[in-house]
């Protein structure tokens, strides 16, 4: 437990004087281990420790809390401010329809999320249409049809196997049908797959999405930085949604992705049902990462 470990480090400090550089360094070793065990990328951890260390040294040791707790508070507050603004909403288009494009690696939860977003935004008064832009995965259409039905929300399937075509036709038809919100579910792909990343770039050009959301598995490890950077560099991300945080993953990928893209995390997925979507709350994520 981090509080206990820092307690050991600081047990010699008895509530007077200032936090010495030596003591802070020792504390930062423990913080570094905690962040790495939480899956924060090791380079992001380095930068983070450097900035927090300089802030903690020289802090007056207050009588009311232990020095260990004081350091944790500095670290926690810094994490919260880095993780960013609370509950950044999905930005709606000035003139409808709003088009949300979901992208990410294989199996991170995009299709399930499409239904969750439809459910949430429908409750907020929108008329969502789901678009089946995954034309490759076995039974992808069937899967989307079933989860869409749980909302319920209509699905546009298009005919043909060209994902960009499907997206373009859907957006074109949306206005005529009075749908003010389109959620594009794309097929999972690797950030290093040039052909498939290019497909997304072409889809972006064809439909001008209001929001491109990177969907990332909450248990992602050190690789989160590579993935997020590639998607942001090649495509441009507006927001991030982390999934599968209903387990015991510490979720350090949140900090990695935020640090490398600067984009806000908007929601977290917390289960397999259509209602299992929560707003992203930095305080909660910070505590979770610190363990």
């Amino acid at each position: 437990d981090l509080t206990e470990k820092l307690g050991d480090v600081f047990r010699r400090l008895r509530g007077y004087g200032r936090l010495s550089e030596k003591d802070v360094r020792a504390a930062m070793r423990e913080i570094r281990i905690a962040l790495l065990e939480a899956d924060v990328n090791y380079r992001v951890v380095k930068d983070f420790i450097d900035s927090v260390q300089s802030e903690a040294v020289g802090e007056r040791v207050t009588k009311s809390v232990s020095p260990g707790y004081q350091v944790i508070k500095i670290v926690h507050d810094e994490l919260v401010s880095l993780l960013g603004g609370e509950g950044e909403r999905i930005g709606f288009a000035a003139s409808p329809p709003t088009v949300i494009m979901l992208v990410g690696l294989q199996g991170c939860g995009k299709t399930t999320l499409a239904a969750k977003l439809a459910h949430r935004l429908k409750k907020a008064g929108k008329r969502p249409l789901l678009v089946a832009c995954d034309t490759r995965r076995p039974a992808a259409r069937e899967q989307l049809a079933i989860v869409a039905d749980q909302v319920p929300a209509p699905v546009f399937f298009g005919d043909g196997t060209d994902a960009v075509e499907v997206a373009a036709s859907a957006v074109k038809g949306a206005r005529e049908q009075g749908r003010d919100l389109l959620i594009l579910d794309t097929g999972g792909r690797l950030h290093i797959d040039d052909e498939l990343m290019d497909e997304l770039a072409r889809m972006k050009d064809a439909v001008h999405p209001t929001e491109i959301c990177l969907v990332a598995d909450g248990m992602t490890g050190q690789d989160a930085v590579q993935v997020a950077k590639e998607f942001d560099d090649r495509l441009g991300i507006d927001g991030v949604i982390l999934t599968k945080l209903d387990g015991d993953a510490r979720g350090g990928a949140a900090l990695s992705i935020r640090a490398v893209t600067g984009r806000p995390i908007k929601f977290v997925g917390v289960g397999e049902k259509v209602g299992d979507l929560e707003e992203f709350i930095p305080e909660r994520m910070a505590s979770r990462i610190l363990g």
Partner: protein, 313 residues
Amino acid sequence: LRGRARIDDDLFEELGEILISADVGVAASERILDRVKSRVRSNGVDDPGEIPRLLQEEIEEILEAASRRLTAPEKRPPGERPRWERPEAGEGADEVPVTEASMAAKEGTGGPRVMMVVGVNGTGKTTTIGKLAKRYVDEGQRVLVAACDTYRAAAAEQLQIWADRAGVEMVGSHSGADPASVAYDALSSTVARGGDVLLIDTAGRLHTRTPLMEELRKMKRVLARLHPGAPHDTLLVLDATTGQNGLSQCRLFHEALDLTGIVLAKLDGTARGGIVIAAAEELGIPVRYVGTGETIADIAEFDPRSFAAALFS
């Protein structure tokens, strides 16, 4: 690492970063580097260029040891039974070696080899079963697959497509059916049709959900009752992009089900899947296969040497 003049703390710190960046984890990396340091001392190594090779060998040995552990059943403490097992079941369970070569030699066991595929959501279980089915078919085995994910949207439809691609029969039921009953029916059908291998697809589930883990334990008991020794394999599919939570997954799935191996999927990305090193070292679970893409041919038997080498390339 090339410009290193001597063996010092900086060198080991840099090696530590390589391991951490590969998702080996802090604790396992420290233990592994400590062992390398003591080998350096005891062998009197003084050339820093030797250290990466020593580290690679250490990792290789950890991975090899895990596969050896499972092929030597006498290493298991006497009288220890897997937690899922009931007293009357599975006397033959321990004696089935877990190499691919043994698949062809199933005569020793009599009846089909049953392989259960488990793991958290979205790791690649269903796709892996399609690939394994094709692989065993190509080896001349008669293979069936069981659609025991009766929960997730279009799970059976997805598996059916893979079964068709592999040229194998799928046994399923309706959505919402009890997974253990479907497994039971699938095994009966496999035995009736003289099948050599039955691959069982299960629904993704978080290891922290006890009732869902119990559902898998029940499936094992049901299979063992019908055919003592089944399931001969319980494979955990791990996503190579997963971080330290992968170790938690290994621990809890292993505790509940006694895993016989890991399939490390999505190794065609940039993640290196170092968590399997921690799993081998702490739990002795071997990696059996790696998934390297989304087509039916994208699976290979795990090779500790090339895996260890890839960490440093």
